[in-house]
Amino acid sequence: MTAVPDIRPRADTRSWYRRNEIAITPWLFLAPGLLFFAFYVIFPIFQSFQVSFYDWDGLGDLTEQGRFIGLDNYRELAGDRNFEISLWNNLKWLLLYLLAIPMGLGIALFLNQTVTGIRLYKSLFFFPFVISQVVVGLVFSWFYLPDVGLLNVMLGWFGLSINILGSPDTATYGIIAAGLWPQTAYCMILYLTGLNAVDPEQIEAARLDGAKGPKMLWYVILPQLKPATFIAFVVTIIGALRSFDLVSIMTNGGPFGSTRVLSFYMFEKALAEFGFRMGYGAAIAVVLFLIMLVFIAYFLWSMWRDERAAR
């Protein structure tokens, strides 16, 4: 077949759409995703702020059935002992959850070898992350059972025993330990991938200079693992503040409300107690959101900086 070259002046004959195709196409492609995201994520954030100024049980329309009470929900929060406990527990979660990062790095360094079967070992070490938090919670609450749980059976060999989830002093730490299990696995896989990409020439050069062990790790390896560390920080902090499943499954906030965190307390106030208090719940959610916003802003700022550098 012979191709006949099109030599007519095209600019005028093309339709409006064809002429503006490059400007319009991205918006057509974005439209469905943006619509979904706006209605289910962006608008609800602002609506929650609005709800937090109301006394509302969730029935009927907010502005008709609800009663506008200004900042009263927030004033009540300031004097709410349970809110204070939840806030402190969130802080414990945040700090202790970060242990997942060095622990994950430790396991990654331990497993970064080439012996037979190491791939399977890596997969099995990563395994806890794939299991749902609900099952992790169940598994750990059985593990912690007083008298018959495996932990207490093993402690029994040394004449010790502890009822971790039954005591207000230890329950939160027990739940955090359960949460650290999958989170450490996640950090481990991030670092394993990072270690894989470390520049071997730099290591050889550093070895020739006599660097080894911890010094090598600190001055040569860790700087190259920075992207992995950043992601580990992001997912760990978000994970710590999102903790809900484990608290709900393992203790349901108890004993004596000592293991509540903001996410759980909000749910309890808005949905689980008698007479839904949507407004009060929304106020708790707003506080949690504002705490998270500090971190989100920092993450976005870092990503923005990288994005500009890449341009």
């Binding site: 195709e21 609800p44 099952v135």
Partner: protein, 282 residues
């Protein structure tokens, strides 16, 4: 390679390392191994206080049989599948498009929209809970699988857009320019040039989203109520109250509930890890 490859070290340390590996693994998975042991024990072991000894009899088939034939478990599993699979398809479809739009075109507001998707993906669920529940009730979708699917698609689109956009950014741009010079329409460029190159990203996201959604608990209890539409993560609590203190059945039930994402992970390991570690290497 860091640490120093084991092959270069002394024979003694090599042997120690080989021995240490299984010990470390058993310690690491101890809570899980305990549950597996529970799930094959007979009921009589628990009533007689034989929690950790040798099983009185090997009851794997009868325990798991009870889970599958005498409880609501199969229904919950089916619900989970009917929630998870449409979510995966919907999310991947939407994010291929948003990722294409944000990755290929330069227009005002591009970065802003991109960062809005990322930011939305980080917010705590609780700030969305009351309005999303309301919205779902208003759509008459409360306590339906569809209601849950629609929300999941919307929320996961945030993370997936980040993923897809960065993936498309890394594709060779001259390919698209060449197609444009040929007069190929933008829509066709998406379908015939970009989509075929996105297969690895689509595979990675599919397994990740499958796992995330299968394991979701919070939205399941906020947006659904009974065995008609609740997924297995929420159903397991009902299952456990039915078999209170019957540890052999609760353990078997938990393992069954956790299995599909585990199977997914082992089948598609490479894609799963590629998705999870996106950005961990520059």
């Amino acid at each position: 390679m860091f640490p120093t490859p084991i092959a270069k070290s002394s024979r003694q340390w090599q042997l120690t390392y080989q021995a240490l590996l299984p010990v470390a693994l058993i310690l690491w998975l101890l809570p899980l191994i305990a549950v597996m042991l529970f799930s094959i024990k007979p009921d009589s072991d628990f009533t007689s206080g034989n929690y950790w000894g040798v099983p009185g009899s090997f009851d794997l088939i009868s325990n798991y049989g009870k889970v599958f034939f005498e409880s609501e478990m199969p229904r919950y599993l089916l619900n989970s599948a009917f929630i998870t699979i449409p979510t995966v398809i919907g999310t991947v479809a939407l994010s291929c498009m948003t990722g294409f739009a944000l990755g290929i075109y330069r227009f005002k507001g591009n970065l802003l929209i991109f960062f809005m998707f990322i930011a939305g993906n980080f917010v705590p669920f609780q700030i969305l809970m009351v309005p999303v529940r309301d919205f779902t009730i208003a759509l008459d979708l409360y306590d339906t699988k569809t209601g849950l699917v629609l929300f999941h698609i919307a929320f996961q689109t945030g993370f997936c857009t980040l993923f897809m956009r960065n993936f498309i950014r890394a594709l060779p741009f001259p390919l698209i320019e060449a197609a444009r010079v040929e007069g190929v329409s933008e829509w066709r460029i998406f379908v015939y040039v970009v989509l075929p190159l996105m297969k690895p990203a689509i595979a990675a996201l599919s397994v990740l989203i499958f796992t995330f959604i299968w394991n979701d608990y919070f939205w399941a209890i906020v947006l659904t109520q009974g065995p008609d539409s609740q997924p297995v993560t929420a159903g397991i609590t009902a299952f456990n109250s039915q078999y209170r203190a019957a540890y052999h059945l609760m353990s078997a039930g938990s393992i069954v509930a956790a299995l599909p994402p585990v199977a997914m992970f082992f089948l598609m390991q490479k894609h799963f890890i590629a998705g999870l570690t996106l950005g961990a290497v520059k």
